[in-house]
C-alpha cells in the first residue's frame, strides 16, 4: 500500500513555522491564502475545491527557511508542495494531500549579473519577462520563452522542465539553467550543477545531476537559487507565416524548414485545419482569410543581421516550396508578437449551438517525432469529437506542432491539442469524462513512440497513471531515486505515480 497520510498541520506546527520565518505575515493558515494557492490554470473541479487546498502557505525568503520547513515536514510527515507562479498546466503545484505550500514568490531578487562569464543568478520567484527588462541595458537576455513568459517564474520552469518557443535556437529551461541551489526532500541545502563550479556548462566529474533536478515536478526538492545563461541580445527578429490549402503541404514545408540547417532558426510552428477553423472565430488575422487557407506554418529567427538577413531569404523560399503563400509582414509580425497571448482566451469557446461561452483551456502536450504527426492528429481529433458528442461541454480548439529539440529544429515536436472545457457546466460525470479523454489522447502518444508530456508534466489524472508505462524499464530506477532522496515521501506526494516507490 502506498504511503498515504493525513496532513498534521495544527497550531503547534504553525508556531514552529512562525519561529522559522520570524514573521507571522509569511505564515498564512487563513482560508483565502489556502483557497488561492490551490488551483493552476488548468481545468479544475471547482465543486471539489476544498479537497485540493493546502493547510497552510509559507512564503520563505531564504534557502535556510525553506530547509527548516522541509526538515519540520520530514519530522512530522507533513506533505510539502512547492509553488512558484502556480501558472503550470498540469497541476504540479496543486496539493493532493493538504500540507505546507512553500510559495517562493518573495525569492525574486537578482543576486548577480556576471557579464564576463555570462551568467545571471536569481531567486526562483522571479519572472523571465521582468528579469529580461533588467538585463536589457546590458545587451543580454535569458531566452526562456514559453507561452506563459509574462507570468511564469524561474522556479516553476525548473520544476516542470519547461519548453521555450525559441528552444530550437537557444535551448529550453534545462539547457539554459547552468546550476542551482536545491533544498532536498530531507532538508539539506545542496549545489546541483554539471560539475563543481556554479558557472560551468560542461563537466564529467562525479554524476551529472543537473538533468535530474529539472523537470522533477517538485518531487525531488525545491530550487532556492539558480544560475542562468546570459545570451547576447539579438540584433534582429524575423517572423514569417505561410498559408496552405492542404495540411500535408504545410506538414512537408515544416519538414523542409526544420531540416534546412539554418542556424538562426528559433522555432517553427505547424497549425492544423482545426486550429485554422478555431482562429477564424476571433483572430483578426484569420477572419478575413479566404476559405482555401486550411493550415499555416510560422517561422521565427533571431540573431545578428548578418546571419538572419540571408537566412530569411532562404526561409521565404522554403515557405513557398510546397505552394505556401506568405500571409504578409503585418500578420506575420503581429501574430508572432502575440504568441503568448493568443492561446487561451476563454471566449474562444463555442457551445454546440454556436454560442460564445467561457471555456477553460486544456492543453495536451505530447512529444512526438515528425513521422507520426499527421496520423496522431487524425486520431486525436477523432477522440475529442467523441467526447464532444457525448458530453457537449468540450470544444476542439485545434492543434499546434512546435519544434521541440533544443538547438535542433529537425528533432521532435511539442504537439498540442487544445480542448476547451465549459467549466461552469462541469460536474463529476463530465469531469470523469474529461479525464478519460485525456488518457485516451495520452495513450495515442505512447502508441506512436512519443511521450505523454513534452513540458507540462504528468502530474494530473489522465496522464499520471501512464507514467510507469511510459518510463518502461527506467521506472525501477526512477522509483529508487525518489525513495533514496525522499524517504518519507513528503515532497509533492501523490504526483506522477511516485507513491509506488514506497510500496
Amino acid at each position: 500500500m502506498s504511503v498515504a497520510f493525513k496532513s498534521a498541520v495544527d497550531d503547534a506546527v504553525l508556531d514552529e513555522l512562525r519561529a522559522i520565518t520570524g514573521d507571522n505575515d509569511r505564515v498564512l493558515p487563513n482560508l483565502t491564502s489556502r483557497v488561492n494557492r490551490t488551483r493552476v490554470p488548468a481545468p479544475f473541479p471547482v465543486h471539489r475545491w476544498s479537497e485540493f487546498m493546502p493547510d497552510v502557505a509559507v512564503l520563505p525568503v531564504s534557502a535556510e527557511e525553506v530547509s527548516e520547513v522541509v526538515k519540520l515536514a520530514n519530522r512530522l510527515r507533513i506533505p510539502v508542495v512547492p509553488r512558484a507562479g502556480g501558472t503550470g498546466l498540469a497541476d504540479g503545484a496543486v496539493p493532493l494531500r493538504g500540507g505546507i505550500c512553500v510559495d517562493v514568490k518573495l525569492m525574486n531578487k537578482i543576486r548577480e549579473i556576471d557579464l564576463t562569464d555570462r551568467t545571471v543568478t536569481v531567486g526562483p520567484g522571479i519572472n523571465m519577462l521582468k528579469l529580461n527588462e533588467e538585463l536589457r541595458p546590458h545587451g543580454v537576455f535569458y531566452p526562456d520563452d514559453p507561452a506563459s513568459y509574462p507570468c511564469s517564474l524561474v522556479g516553476g520552469r525548473i520544476g516542470t522542465g519547461g519548453w521555450s518557443l525559441l528552444g530550437a535556437r537557444f535551448g529550453h529551461t534545462r539547457d539554459l539553467v547552468i546550476s542551482m541551489q536545491v533544498v532536498l526532500p530531507t532538508g539539506e541545502i545542496v549545489e546541483i550543477a554539471e560539475g563543481g563550479g556554479r558557472k560551468l556548462r560542461k563537466s564529467s566529474t562525479g554524476l551529472t545531476l543537473k538533468q535530474l533536478f529539472t523537470g522533477h515536478q517538485g518531487t525531488l526538492g525545491i530550487t532556492t537559487e539558480a544560475t542562468l545563461e546570459l545570451v547576447p541580445r539579438p540584433e534582429v527578429e524575423f517572423a514569417a507565416f505561410f498559408a496552405f490549402d492542404d495540411y500535408m503541404k504545410a506538414y512537408r514545408t515544416t519538414g523542409a524548414l526544420t531540416k534546412s540547417g539554418l542556424a538562426t532558426l528559433a522555432g517553427v510552428v505547424l497549425f492544423d485545419e482545426w486550429k485554422l477553423r478555431y482562429l477564424r472565430r476571433d483572430d483578426e488575422a484569420y477572419i478575413p482569410q479566404p476559405g482555401w487557407v486550411r493550415a499555416v506554418v510560422a517561422v521565427a529567427m533571431y540573431g545578428t543581421r548578418a546571419e538572419v538577413e540571408p537566412a530569411s531569404r532562404r526561409v521565404m523560399e522554403l515557405g513557398r516550396s510546397e505552394g505556401g503563400k506568405y500571409l504578409g509582414d503585418e500578420i506575420s509580425e503581429g501574430d508572432w508578437a502575440s504568441r503568448h497571448d493568443r492561446y487561451a482566451t476563454p471566449l474562444h469557446g463555442r457551445s454546440r449551438d454556436g454560442q460564445a461561452v467561457p471555456m477553460s483551456w486544456h492543453c495536451e502536450d505530447a512529444a512526438l517525432n515528425y513521422s507520426v504527426l499527421p496520423q496522431v492528429r487524425e486520431e486525436w481529433h477523432a477522440i475529442v469529437e467523441r467526447y464532444i458528442d457525448r458530453y457537449g461541454i468540450f470544444d476542439d480548439w485545434g492543434m499546434f506542432a512546435y519544434t521541440s529539440g533544443p538547438y535542433k529544429p529537425w528533432a521532435d515536436y511539442l504537439v498540442e491539442i487544445d480542448v476547451g472545457i465549459w467549466e461552469q457546466r462541469l460536474d463529476d460525470e463530465s469531469w470523469a469524462g474529461w479525464v478519460a479523454c485525456k488518457r485516451e489522447i495520452a495513450e495515442v502518444a505512447l502508441k506512436y513512440g512519443g511521450s505523454i508530456t513534452a513540458c507540462h508534466g504528468a502530474t494530473r489524472e489522465g496522464d499520471a497513471e501512464l507514467v510507469p508505462s511510459e518510463m518502461g524499464s527506467a521506472w525501477e530506477v526512477v522509483k529508487r531515486i525518489k525513495r533514496a532522496l525522499d524517504p518519507n515521501n513528503v515532497m509533492n506526494p501523490g504526483k506522477q505515480m511516485l507513491d509506488e516507490a514506497y510500496e
Binding site: P41, N127, L129, L347, E423
Partner: protein, 419 residues
C-alpha cells in the same frame, strides 16, 4: 458548505455573486495570470491573495460556498485600481473589443468593497475617511486640519475667477487644499491662453474615491450634488485637469445619470497640449533640467492618454527629457490610488519608493507627473533626493507664469492622501 452569511447578510452576498459571476469565470476559466507582474501591489507583496486572479477566483469560491465576504475582505484592500491588470489581460487586450467583454478588475474590486461596507465588513480607516468626507463635502486631505466648503476656493485667491458660466473648472480635493500650486498653475495657464471658465458655486468632492472604497451611496450623493450645481449655473462643459476626476466624470457619472448626462468633459492635459500646439500658449522660458515622466495610471492605463504629456515635455525649451515608454509603465504606479495609502500606507510607500528608484536609475534630477495624487507619495518617497514635479506647474513656469500656492500643503500636515 460554508455559511453564506457570516454577518447575517447571505442575501447580499448571493446577489453579488450572481451579478459578478460572468466576470469571475471570464478570468477564472482563463488562468493566464499576465496581470500579476504588472500589478504594483503584487510586485511588492508577492502574495497571491492580492492578485487580480484571486479577486476573480474568490467570487467563484464564494459561489461554491468555500469563502464568504468576511474571509476575503482584507485581500481586496490591496489594490490601487490602476487598471494595469485589466488592460494587460489578454481577455481585454486581444479580444475585449471583439467580444465586447473585457476584464474589469477595477469594477470587481469596487463592487466587493461595496459589499464589504453593506455587510459590516468595512475597513476602519476608510470608514473614518468617508465619514469626514461626508462632513466636510471634500476629502480630508490635510490630516487633522479639517477641510470645508468655506475654503474650497481659497487656492484661487487673487486670480479673480468668476463663479459659474458655461465652462466650469473642477479642481480636485488634493489640488484645492494640499497642492494648491497645481490648481493655480492650471488656472493661470488657461487665463494666459484666454480660455474663459468659472468655478462651481459649491464644489464637492467628485465622489470617485468614495466609490473606489465602496461607499456607493455617498459617491452618488456627491455626483448628484455636483451635477445639480453645474446645471444651476448653466454649465455645458467641465474642465477636468485631474485624471481621477476625469474618470469620475466620464465613467461614474454617465453610469449614474444615463442619457440625461449631456455635459462635455475635457481632460486638462489634452487642453493644455492643444493650446501650446495652436500657439495660444508660448513656452518661452527655458527650464534647464533633466527629467523623466511618470505616466499616471488613470491617464495611461485607464484612459490611454500618454502622448499629450510627452508632447508638452518636448516643447519646454531647455528641458532634457529621458523617456520610459508608456507600455513599460503599465507596471509602474505611485501606489496613491483607491484608498490604499489610508489602509496600507507601508505598501504605498514601497510602491512609490520603487517608482522613484527607477527614475533615479536614469540619472535625471526630476520626475514629472501629471497627477497630483501621485505627486504626494512620490515626493515622500523621493525624500529630498529627486525632485517630483507636476507637469502643469512645469509648463506654467516655462510660460513665464508666477504660480504661487504651495506644493506640499500647510506645514505639519500628515502624510496619506486618499486617491
Amino acid at each position: 458548505m460554508a455559511d453564506y452569511s457570516p454577518n447575517g447578510d447571505g442575501e447580499l452576498q448571493r446577489e453579488f455573486v450572481e451579478r459578478w459571476r460572468d466576470n469571475a469565470y471570464g478570468c477564472f476559466s482563463s488562468g493566464h495570470k499576465f496581470c500579476r507582474e504588472v500589478c504594483p501591489v503584487m510586485q511588492v507583496t508577492r502574495n497571491e491573495n492580492h492578485t487580480p486572479t484571486a479577486f476573480h477566483a474568490d467570487i467563484v469560491a464564494m459561489e461554491k460556498g468555500v469563502v464568504s465576504v468576511a474571509d476575503v475582505a482584507d485581500d481586496y484592500v490591496h489594490c490601487t485600481q490602476c487598471g494595469a491588470c485589466e488592460l494587460r489581460c489578454p481577455n481585454t487586450l486581444f479580444t475585449g473589443d471583439f467580444y465586447r467583454h473585457r476584464t474589469r478588475t477595477v469594477d470587481v474590486v469596487k463592487a466587493m468593497r461595496a459589499l464589504m461596507v453593506a455587510t459590516g465588513n468595512e475597513r476602519e480607516g476608510w470608514k473614518l475617511w468617508n465619514e469626514r468626507l461626508a462632513d466636510g463635502t471634500n476629502e480630508p486631505v490635510l490630516g487633522d486640519v479639517p477641510v470645508s466648503q468655506e475654503h474650497v476656493r481659497d487656492w484661487a485667491d487673487g486670480l479673480d475667477l468668476p463663479v459659474g458660466g458655461d465652462t466650469i473648472l473642477f479642481v480636485d480635493c488634493e489640488a484645492a487644499f494640499y497642492r494648491t500650486s497645481y490648481a493655480r498653475a492650471f488656472a493661470l495657464l488657461l487665463q494666459r491662453a484666454g480660455v474663459e471658465f468659472g468655478l462651481m458655486r459649491e464644489q464637492w468632492c467628485c465622489g470617485g474615491p468614495a466609490a473606489e472604497m465602496g461607499y456607493v451611496d455617498l459617491a452618488r450623493k456627491h455626483a448628484e450634488h455636483n451635477v445639480a450645481d453645474w446645471r444651476a449655473v448653466g454649465a455645458r462643459r467641465i474642465l477636468a485637469p485631474d485624471p481621477h476626476d476625469y474618470i469620475a466624470f466620464t465613467e461614474d457619472y454617465p453610469a449614474y445619470f444615463g442619457d440625461a448626462y449631456d455635459f462635455e468633459v475635457v481632460l486638462g492635459v489634452e487642453l493644455v497640449a492643444e493650446l501650446v500646439r495652436d500657439g495660444r500658449l508660448a513656452l518661452t522660458e527655458p527650464v534647464e533640467r533633466t527629467v523623466t515622466y511618470h505616466d499616471p495610471c488613470r491617464l495611461n492605463k485607464r484612459k490611454g492618454v500618454h502622448e499629450a504629456p510627452r508632447e508638452l515635455l518636448r516643447t519646454v525649451p531647455g528641458l532634457e527629457f529621458k523617456d520610459v515608454d508608456h507600455v513599460t509603465q503599465w507596471s509602474y504606479c505611485s501606489g496613491g490610488g483607491a484608498g490604499l495609502p489610508i489602509e496600507k500606507p507601508e505598501i504605498t510607500a514601497e510602491i512609490s519608493r520603487r517608482r522613484v528608484a527607477r527614475a533615479e536609475a536614469l540619472d535625471v534630477d526630476a520626475l514629472v507627473s501629471a497627477c497630483p495624487w501621485s505627486e504626494r507619495p512620490l515626493s515622500q518617497a523621493a525624500d529630498g533626493g529627486l525632485e517630483v514635479m507636476d507637469l502643469f506647474e512645469l509648463v506654467a513656469r516655462s510660460a513665464g507664469i508666477e504660480i504661487g500656492g504651495a506644493a506640499h500643503g500647510p506645514a505639519g500636515v500628515e502624510a496619506g492622501g486618499g486617491g
